[in-house]
């Protein structure tokens, strides 16, 4: 049913893109160490000058670019990195990821306003709290199959939001206001001359967190993102990442090769939750006030869309996906009320023409490239159809 000989222009375009991204992959895989470091360095420099006005005027003519870079763009990227651990690496479908973002956000709000803790302290506490909540959610539910897990996590996300709404101690629907900004680290100002001025960063105080300038928050988010990338990348290339991949590929075989699958699935949930929580803390520290409705289901869906759109399992892809998902609706503000309409349509089109995502991980791509004819395609990926646990191991 897979007519391989049929090559219309669209398929050819698609294949062209594929081979392009493949060759990128290859070159990257074989690049010497120093070359990689050069690329990392360049990327970091680009990230640092990204909020410059010149770039902003193109990227975001309608709204403040540095703030946009902080959230939604930076925030979505961070959340996508976290969700990628759960969905992309361990293969668990989570539709309630926003819950952990909310828990982080509320941690910042509660500890900041009621206990007057410092942002950095709260960051640690918030991350731990989210991780624990990930474990609490995961422990009873991770035995469920993929789609059941999806709906249960969706329910969990809603439960967290509604409980927040109904709990007067944390402000109920009013949420919490007056959340403190992170303390100013240093008043150091980027020199207001020559080069820095040229790139539009002259006079910026990158470590002073006020209400008006979005750049310091962006740099804060950037720092957290970089940490999350390092964290997630290290895990991916370790025993933990291999365990996740093996669970995703064949849970039964993994367990029979000595992988304590339940423990590792729980770990994936905890890590994902921790990253989501970090996002929440950082977001709330800038937002001044949060309400339960800042954490709707649709945000979970959007982040999931970002992960899949970019290429589930592949970090650069996932980040690209998050960037686009956050940026496109803002960039097309000119379309006004039609922008969500267009966004929805774009999502469908991208999935139709590139279901494996824009920059798929090599593993995943191979997985998607060939299903077993007929219905196989919509068969097994995340969760997969009933792996009648033992039945398949057996005869």
């Amino acid at each position: 049913m897979n007519d391989t000989t049929n090559r219309n222009p669209l398929t050819r375009l698609r294949d062209g893109y594929s081979s392009f991204s493949d060759s990128l992959h290859d070159r990257w895989a074989t690049a010497p160490r120093w070359a990689r470091w050069v690329v990392y360095l360049v990327l970091i420099v680009v990230a640092i000058i990204l909020p410059a006005d010149g770039i902003g005027s193109f990227m975001s003519p309608y709204t403040d670019w540095p703030t946009l870079l902080f959230f939604p763009i930076g925030g979505y990227i961070l959340l996508a990195i976290g969700l990628n651990v759960v969905v992309g690496q361990a293969g668990l479908l989570d539709l309630g990821y926003v819950a952990f973002f909310a828990i982080g956000g509320y941690a910042m709000a509660i500890f900041g306003t009621k206990m007057h803790m410092d942002f950095w302290e709260i960051l640690v506490v918030g991350v731990l709290l989210s991780a624990v909540s990930g474990i609490i959610l995961g422990a009873p539910t991770l035995r469920l199959r993929g789609d059941y897990l999806a709906i249960v996590t969706l329910g969990f996300g809603e439960i967290v939001r509604i409980v927040a709404q109904n709990t007067d101690y944390i402000g109920g629907p009013n949420g919490i206001g007056g959340i403190p900004h992170p303390p100013t680290l240093t008043e150091w100002t980027v020199p207001d001359n020559g080069f820095f001025d040229a790139i539009g960063l002259g006079g910026v105080q990158p470590f002073k967190y006020g209400a008006l300038d979005g750049k310091p928050y962006y740099y804060l988010m950037l720092l957290v993102i970089v940490l999350a990338i390092i964290f997630s990348k290290r895990l991916e290339n370790s025993r933990v990442g291999r365990a996740w991949a093996s669970i995703r590929e064949d849970e039964d075989a993994a367990e029979l090769m000595g992988v304590p699958t339940f423990k590792f699935k729980l770990a994936a949930f905890a890590i994902g939750a921790a990253i989501g929580g970090a996002g929440g803390v950082v977001y709330a520290s800038q937002a001044v006030s949060i309400i339960p409705n800042n954490f709707p289901f649709i945000l979970s869906a959007t982040i999931l869309a970002a992960v899949v759109l970019g290429g589930s399992g592949n970090l650069p892809g996932v980040m690209l996906g998050a960037f686009l998902v956050a940026w496109i609706p803002e960039r097309i503000r000119g379309l006004q009320e039609y922008r969500v309409l267009v966004f929805g349509g774009v999502l469908v089109l991208l999935m139709v023409f590139r279901p494996e995502g824009l920059l798929p991980s090599r593993r995943r791509k191979a997985e998607l490239a060939e299903g077993e004819g007929g219905m196989g395609g919509l068969g097994a990926e995340v969760g997969g159809p009933v792996t009648v646990a033992a039945g398949e191991v057996g005869e």
């Binding site: 629907p173 009013n174 001025d197």
Partner: protein, 388 residues
């Protein structure tokens, strides 16, 4: 796909180079000279745009009328669509301050977005007047640049509560709210007020996105109240009235400004909403019975937008008027406009345009409206209005 990716990368690179090359000739054209920009921020395209577009039109009307007088300094109205969401309002506020360099802002219109965007406006020293953010807590932050031309929910809730106790003499009151940051505190205030006056109360909450409120209806039936107060918006309010009436509940229905819309009666269907009382610290007076200014405003508004003035249109008009007065007085910078706002005192359409030092309006009138068909004629001030 590929070409697109390349385009994006290319453009990013190009704009980066541009930025590098263009060096420090940055500074945008200043707002001064013969033109001042005033912003309007709120949910212009989202679900609640129905209560944001009237104040925007009110503001537009005021500014157009002013510009028509051929003044030395003209005013432009620039709109910012926050969709009512804080996370969109914040970057827009920054854009307004740093890039667009507007001189004043009307809005944000809702309380939750205000809570996030107002600190930005404060630090950006941009005077702002909300025409409809009624959450009481907003006034407690000591903001210098923040103002509103609408009495807050506490004032409103107390006003409606008094009306329930005095005007209606209700002894058993059932409070329903929509669990929103607007509806819940409003409901709580009403509850506290009527309880102080000796009424017996019970309460429940609905999910405004749900459609079946029968659990609440059953609770109301069991309680058998004289009056029901609903804190929430009209889209849920209409459904709620309908289901209450169909469930056989005949008690009088009351609500706050969020329900002050024809949609309430439409949603309730037939004559279900008739006799319901809506309280609002705002003035909607299409027939112009309140004052001559109100009458003129209603006529002008109708002429321009082919519709009756709706909720907050008068407040929007008045907020714009406050800025217009400032400009008329020769103030074109945000700082100066803000200074002017501390002392402005001019009769507006809806109320006296005059602010307390915390930014709240001095006027605290709450008006009540009675639903008749799909009309919402003004009944009078909550203090002394009565119903048959």
């Amino acid at each position: 796909m590929r070409s697109r990716l390349i385009t994006v990368v290319g453009v990013v690179a190009a704009s980066a180079t541009l930025a590098l090359g263009a060096s420090a000739c940055g500074g945008n054209s200043k707002g001064g000279g013969d033109n001042v920009t005033i912003g309007f921020m709120g949910d212009l395209t989202g679900e609640n745009s129905g209560i944001v577009i009237p104040p925007k039109q009110g503001a537009q009307l005021a500014i157009d009328q002013y510009n028509a007088t051929n003044p030395k300094v003209k005013i432009t109205l620039k709109t910012y669509d926050s969709q009512g969401k804080g996370e969109q309002a914040v970057p827009l506020a920054k854009q307004a301050i740093t890039k667009d360099k507007i001189a004043g802002l009307i809005g944000p219109t809702f309380s939750s977005e205000s809570a996030q965007a107002d600190p930005v406006l404060e630090e950006g020293k941009l005077p702002n007047i909300s025409s409809s953010a009624t959450n009481a807590a907003l006034a407690t932050h000591g903001w210098k640049y923040w103002h509103r031309l609408i009495a807050n929910d506490n004032v409103q809730g107390a006003g409606i509560g008094e009306f329930i106790s005095n005007g209606l003499k209700a002894k058993k009151v059932f409070i329903i709210h929509d669990n929103s940051e607007y509806g819940k505190p409003l409901g709580e205030t009403v509850k506290a007020t009527v309880e102080k006056a000796g009424a017996q109360t019970s309460e429940d909450a609905i999910d405004p996105n749900g459609s079946d409120f029968s659990a609440t209806v059953n609770k109301v039936k069991a309680f058998a109240p004289d009056a029901i107060f609903f804190g929430g918006y009209y889209s849920a309010g209409g459904k709620l009235i309908k289901q209450l009436r169909e469930g056989g509940v005949k008690a009088r229905f009351l609500s706050g400004d969020g329900s002050l819309d024809q949609g309430l009666a439409k949603g309730a269907g037939g004559t279900n909403a008739d006799g319901s009382i809506i309280g609002c610290p705002c003035l909607i007076d299409p027939s112009g019975t309140a004052s001559a200014a109100s009458k003129k405003f209603a006529e002008d508004y109708k002429a321009k937008f082919h519709a009756d003035p709706a909720i907050y249109s008068a407040e929007g008009y008045d907020a714009a008027t406050a800025f217009i007065e400032a400009v008329k007085a020769g103030n074109t910078t945000p700082e100066k406009i803000n200074d002017f706002l501390t002392k402005v005192d001019k009769p507006g359409v809806s109320k006296e345009i005059k602010f307390q030092s915390n930014g709240e309006p001095t006027a605290t009138d709450v008006y009540v409206y009675e639903v008749k068909g799909t009309q919402l004629p003004l009944l009078g001030s909550a203090k002394n209005a009565t119903v048959k």
